[in-house]
Amino acid sequence: MEDLKSLGLSDEELFSRIDHSLLESERITAPRYSYWRSVFRVFFRRKLNIVVLSILALVIFMAYVYPTIFGYDQFSNLNDATTKHLSPAAALQRFGPSIRWILGTGSSGNSTFDAVWFGSRISITLAMICTVINMSIGVLVGAIWGFSKKVDIVMIEVRNIIGNVPGVLLISVLVMLFSPSFWTLIFAMTITGWLGVASFIRTQVIIIRDREYNLASKCLGTSTLRIAIKNILPFMTSVIVTLMATEIPSYIGSEVFLSYIGLGISEMSLGKLITENQSAMFVPGWQLEFWSPVFVSSIITIVLFVVGQNLGDASDPRTHM
């Protein structure tokens, strides 16, 4: 002040008068916050996520685009005995240099590389569809289950009963009733699969249902539906995404398991590929036929898991600081 005074200016020149404005006083000066933009900002801040995401993009490209462009016929070399069980080097020599033969050939002279990606498409699609169905039913039912005490009593019993019916039995009965097709397996895996999701969501809902801010909101007269959608759902986003991260790989894993015990689908999925090539593991020189689908399924599940986990972390608003 002393310095300004020394400049010899008058009060009018030093201060300007601003009138009181109702509109201005209502404005919030904090920077604009967009939830999803923050999620992606946090997500891409980690270098690892970019790497993993690009692997995921590559996997999806190989599983969905590559087979449609180049086509895959498992039995094209069926009658040529010289093409069966070739090592990568022998296959490259036999068919000429092409990415298709870098993993050698399988039991019917088919390209192992193509078979793996063709199988990946079926497995990933199966896992995705199962996850979408189970998650949407599970989250919806779980939310109602968590909110209503009457529903809770009924649903706990339902869970105790259905949880004790062996899943393998249920799936095999359904597979036997219908044909062992892609959609039958989806039906079998989702008919009780949502229950686990719902019960998980129910626990989460119960934990935050009675928090103070929800009680306050209720006191102010907010309807239950609005509390569910506006107060609880945003809180649940990260939980749901994290859950999804474990769900998708788990379906790929169970598909492999079901194929192994002979309940798989008729299409050449990854699980079926692994099961059929099991014996190749014990023949020297044929091991690649077994390890390739195992390796690719591991890559797919790990990548999906890591992306999902980190997306789940990023979608927790508390990490947006």
Binding site: N164, P166, M176, P249, G253, V256, F257, Y260, I261, G262
Partner: protein
């Protein structure tokens, strides 16, 4: 607490009953019953009417239907004295066509039809299939009644037959004086060695109480558990026996049979069960035994199916806790450090890679180091257990690490930790005396479950290492339509999970005095 446990137990048992009913509905109601003939040689060999009858006979064995042929009905009448056997022989001959029946035959056919139709059966008469004047092969006329076994009757009879109490009126034949005798000197050991036993006559088992050198040394046969009879996987044997009976090759020793004959044999005389007319039909048994308690089990050198699964399961569970918990704790202490990152990589690997993949991977690694990767019952060694145990342990280690780390980190941020720190406690003290105790509480909940479920075995591990365990019992029975086994195994699993849940809650309440189930103030 006791009251609470009883309440939970009753609740659990009710849901087990419902589970069994649901499973029965699935197995007997929904599964296509024609499927059981898919690989049946006898079915393809029979034709026409005989095939029809054969179908119903098999379905009765598998438990789908109640089936009564006309001749059985007549035999029942003879047994109850309503009919003499001469008339029976006369009226059992039904004509090739219904309208050609003689008067007395028609009368009994009518009786048969009325009696069973009133009980909800469907009575079916198949006229003879003729080829000119000759009857075609398998084309003989047939008369029978059948009905689908009603679900509730089925469930009720099943549950009533689970526990079977042996009594001195079990055997229907004439066995002389019925009764129980107690002896201090077990005759199996020559009647001189001190070994108390109770021997029954008229009971199903000969030895109702005895001691021997096998675990648990003291055995009783008063109460036997029957979970369900097998028809295809192991014909005529109860699931409970399939699970608990020892396997492997015979262990022979010099045995003195009741008749005084001493022979090299693997028979376990303590397991003698009454088998009607066994001595009359088998001269070997006649030379060995003095009564018809001649159906004996054999001593074998291996463990039972459940035994193998349990050894592998329990060791891997214990190993998993010993390894997993300290590793999880170390990860949380080293949060965001290199060890935490390494552990996280392991957890991600083990939870996301299909189990088939890593089990084969460990098998490949294991066999490269020279460990046996195949289970040999006849040539047992401790080394053959290593790979199955490790394969089974790895995922549980990952799981325990994950949860222990999570619980520890959650506790680290709570207020009491800040308070303890402000009070001047050392970090080690806070960590091991306060945080760890609280973080261990949710972990204890899972301990009874993982110990109990060690018994059920694991499918993939056992198959990959060819362990003769109980893991494949359920899938095998499903693929072979062994309905009794499916229901039995489900009952066993369901009971285990009910007990595990209750024990987990009780253990948690024991460990943490703050948890109290008796008066929930909610």
């Amino acid at each position: 607490m006791g009251k609470y446990v009883v309440k939970r137990l009753v609740h659990g048992l009710i849901s087990v009953v419902i589970v069994i009913i649901v499973v029965m509905l699935l197995v007997y109601g929904l599964m296509n019953r024609e499927q059981i003939f898919a690989e049946d040689q006898n079915y393809t060999r029979t034709a026409l009417n005989e095939r029809e009858v054969y179908k119903y006979q098999r379905w009765e064995e598998f438990g789908y239907v109640d089936y009564v042929p006309y001749s059985d009905y007549l035999s029942d009448l003879v047994r109850s004295g309503e009919l003499d056997s001469a008339t029976r022989d006369e009226v059992v001959q039904i004509a090739r066509k219904a309208e050609n029946d003689e008067a007395n035959v028609a009368e009994y056919v009518e009786k048969f039809t009325q009696y069973y139709e009133s009980q909800g059966y469907t009575v079916k008469r198949l006229d003879a299939k003729m080829d000119g004047r000759k009857v075609k092969t398998g084309g003989r006329q047939q008369l029978y009644a059948y009905r689908d076994r009603p679900l509730l009757t089925r469930a009720l009879t099943y549950f009533l037959s689970v526990f079977k109490v042996d009594n001195i009126h079990s055997v229907k034949d004439d066995v002389g004086e019925r009764g129980l005798t107690f002896t201090w000197y077990d005759p199996v050991y020559g009647g001189e060695k001190f070994s108390p036993a109770i021997i029954g006559n008229g009971t199903q088992h000969k030895y109702l109480l005895y001691f021997d050198s096998n675990f648990p040394f003291f055995h009783q046969n008063f109460l036997t558990i029957q979970l369900g009879k097998s028809y295809t996987v192991s014909r005529g044997i109860d699931v409970f026996d399939t699970m608990t009976r020892s396997q492997g090759s015979f262990v022979q020793s010099s045995i003195t049979f009741p008749s005084g004959l001493t022979e090299l044999s693997a028979d376990d005389l303590h397991s003698a069960v009454y088998s009607s007319g066994s001595r009359a039909s088998n001269p070997v048994l006649d030379a060995r035994f003095v009564d018809d308690y001649a159906n004996v089990d054999t001593n074998k050198n291996g463990f039972s199916k459940t035994g193998y699964s349990f050894i592998i399961g329990i060791l891997s569970t214990i190993g998993a806790y010993i390894l997993g918990l300290p590793l999880g704790i170390a990860m949380s202490r080293n949060k965001d450090g290199w060890f935490d990152k390494l552990g996280t990589i392991y957890i991600i690997f083990i939870t996301s890679v299909p189990s088939l993949g890593y089990i084969f991977m460990f098998r490949a690694i294991g066999s490269a180091t020279g460990l046996p990767y195949e289970f040999k019952m006849d040539n047992p060694s401790a080394a053959m257990y290593v790979l199955p145990i490790v394969s089974l342990m790895l995922p549980s280690v990952g799981n325990l690490m994950k949860w222990m780390r999570r619980y520890m980190i959650d506790q680290m941020n709570s207020d009491y930790v800040k308070f303890a720190r402000s009070g001047g406690l050392s970090e080690g003290e806070i960590f091991y005396k306060h945080i760890m105790k609280n973080a261990a509480i949710p972990i204890t909940h899972g301990i009874p479950g993982s110990l109990l479920f060690a018994m059920t075995g694991s499918l993939i591990t056992e198959r990959v290492y060819s362990v003769p365990g109980a893991g494949k019992l359920l899938t095998d029975s499903i693929s072979k339509y062994d309905n009794g086994v499916i229901v039995g195994v489900t009952l066993f699993f369901a009971l285990l999970s009910v007990i595990a849940a209750i024990m987990g809650d009780v253990l948690m309440a024991v460990v943490d005095p703050r948890i109290n189930f008796t008066n929930k103030a909610r």
